[in-house]
């Protein structure tokens, strides 16, 4: 009986802890949005974040896109050969890139780079009392640290994903024309003629949501980190893991919303 009671207690604790964490993250997100839209605004912190999250993520996002686009075209070509439908390869590859792979892979790659560094930076500030120092200097850390990063990531991710889409299609184009015998003109025509604005637009909306999630997770785990090097390490890991899982979950929900009808 005692074992059974302990078992139920443990399940209850885990469940309550999970919902409490969701509540804390929701409150944190609400505060972040409030501070994004109310002055004062820290333009310098915002532009620093744009540079750090946007420009410095270009190499990793670009390389991922090119190789993924190339591999995708190869796979689709091989699969469609069985059905004698190789001509749809450029369109299917482009569709997969702009709707799914561009935003999701871009989001995951930027989450790996940005969520971790944001979490580590803010956690280190917590450990070294820099966040306390901000408070004593009459500066709200949510406004100074969190709002600029979350806003920058939300705005810059669609741009990154657009570049990701273009480079992904370019990767597919290079493989398609050099290895699979497509003519350059036919490949581009098959891609452009069939893609619709909403295919790209839906991916960009997803990208903005993923940008919000990955920055928010970095800030949340950094801001609430434990003490010492272990606390910083745990904050970094939790930020990347939670951002990645939330991006994948949000991707499914958004896909249902955008395309299920």
């Amino acid at each position: 009986m005692v074992i059974f009671t302990n078992f139920l207690t443990n399940i209850g604790e885990v469940t309550l802890g999970f919902f409490a964490m969701i509540g804390r993250i929701a409150i944190f997100a609400g505060l972040a949005i409030k501070h994004i839209v109310t002055p004062p605004f820290y333009g310098r912190e915002f532009s620093r974040s744009l540079w750090h999250i946007g420009f410095l993520s270009l190499p990793v996002v670009g390389l991922t896109a090119i190789f993924t686009g190339g591999a995708l075209v190869l796979q689709i070509f091989l699969g469609s050969s069985d059905l004698n439908a190789q001509s749809v390869t450029p369109f299917i590859a482009a569709l997969a890139i702009v709707r799914e792979l561009g935003p999701v892979l871009g989001g995951l790659m930027v989450a790996g780079r940005v969520s971790s560094s944001v979490a580590a930076e803010i956690a280190t500030m917590r450990v070294t009392e820099q966040i306390d120092a901000l408070l004593t200097l009459s500066t709200n850390p949510m406004k100074y640290l969190v709002a600029p990063r979350v806003l920058a990531a939300t705005l810059v991710m669609p741009l990154l994903v657009l570049i990701n889409d273009i480079l992904g299609i370019l990767g597919g184009y290079l493989v398609g024309t050099s290895r699979l015998g497509f003519s350059g003109h036919a490949y581009i025509k098959a891609t452009v003629d069939n893609l619709e604005f909403w295919d790209v637009g839906s991916g960009l909306i997803k990208a903005a949501v993923f940008g919000f999630i990955l920055a928010l997770m970095g800030c949340y785990h950094g801001y609430n980190s434990g003490r010492g090097a272990q606390g910083v390490g745990r904050a970094t890991t939790n930020a990347v893991v939670s951002a990645s899982v939330l991006i994948l979950a949000a991707n499914y929900i958004l896909t249902e919303l955008f395309f299920s009808s």
Partner: protein
């Protein structure tokens, strides 16, 4: 003499661990009060509770006789400057931007050039040359970072300055320099100073009044001249640094 800060029955616990157990303390205006005590006796918690960085479980904090909770947060914080234990300089900002940080915030925000001029003046006041102004914190030694932290704490000429273990991690000579600077600056500004430290040489240079915390209570409070003849066994043990005595060495 009026009191700048009054603490009434202040309590704070973390889980089952009681840190502050009914602290009553008056910090006189324009004087330098030093709070001593072993590690984990709640000295930092006390300072952070006054500043509002930690919420006490119970008790009242009065500033100039007015309950802290009735004061506007920005106006309240504008009265305070703080030197943190590790200086807590912002890594992404240059030295002058760190020093001038408060001057560039809020309703009375100064222009960049005015703020920079004041920052350089404050850096000189703590013995740092103007060439330091454009460096970043990581380029400075620990002692220099402490001086920059001190310059930041006094930049807006606050009425109250808190010093959290100002000489920790510094060599004896640099400790002496920082102690002298703190004493000079407190006298010069006419500020109310509250310092927490383990370092008895700091206490003798900085303090007008000494308060010893032990087990969440005030163990002893009095003038710095009286610490060697206090008749309090806890204070005597702390001053001598004895392993044996009423303060347990294993905590």
């Amino acid at each position: 003499m009026t009191d700048k800060i009054t603490l009434k029955d202040l309590h704070k616990s973390f889980g089952s661990k009681i840190i502050l157990d009914g602290i009553n303390l008056a910090i006189p205006k324009g004087q330098s009060t030093v709070i001593i005590g072993g590690s984990g006796t709640g000295k930092s918690v006390l300072l952070k509770s006054i500043l509002g960085l930690i919420d006490p479980d119970q008790g009242q904090i009065l500033i100039d006789g007015v309950d802290k909770n009735k004061l506007d947060r920005a106006d309240f914080l504008a009265q305070f400057g703080m030197l943190f234990q590790g200086a807590a300089l912002f890594d992404s900002l240059s030295i002058w931007e760190n020093v001038a940080f408060r001057l560039r915030q809020g309703k009375t925000k100064l222009s960049k050039s005015d703020a920079r001029d004041i920052a350089i003046e404050k850096l000189k006041r703590v013995g740092l040359r103007s060439e330091v102004a454009d460096l970043f914190p990581a380029e400075l030694s620990g002692g220099m970072q402490k001086r920059v932290g001190l310059a930041r704490a006094i930049a807006a000429e606050p009425e109250v300055i808190f010093f959290d273990e100002p000489t920790t991690g510094l060599d004896p000579i640099m400790s002496g320099v920082i102690n002298e600077l703190i004493r000079e600056i407190v006298v010069e500004l006419g500020a109310t100073a509250v310092t927490i430290t383990h370092d008895m040489s700091s206490v003798r240079v900085i303090a007008d009044k000494v308060v010893m915390l032990h087990n969440g209570h005030i163990q002893w409070a009095g003038k710095v001249e009286d610490i060697d003849n206090s008749g309090d066994a806890h204070l005597d043990q702390f001053i001598r640094g004895d392993a044996n005595g009423p303060i347990e060495s294993v905590r």
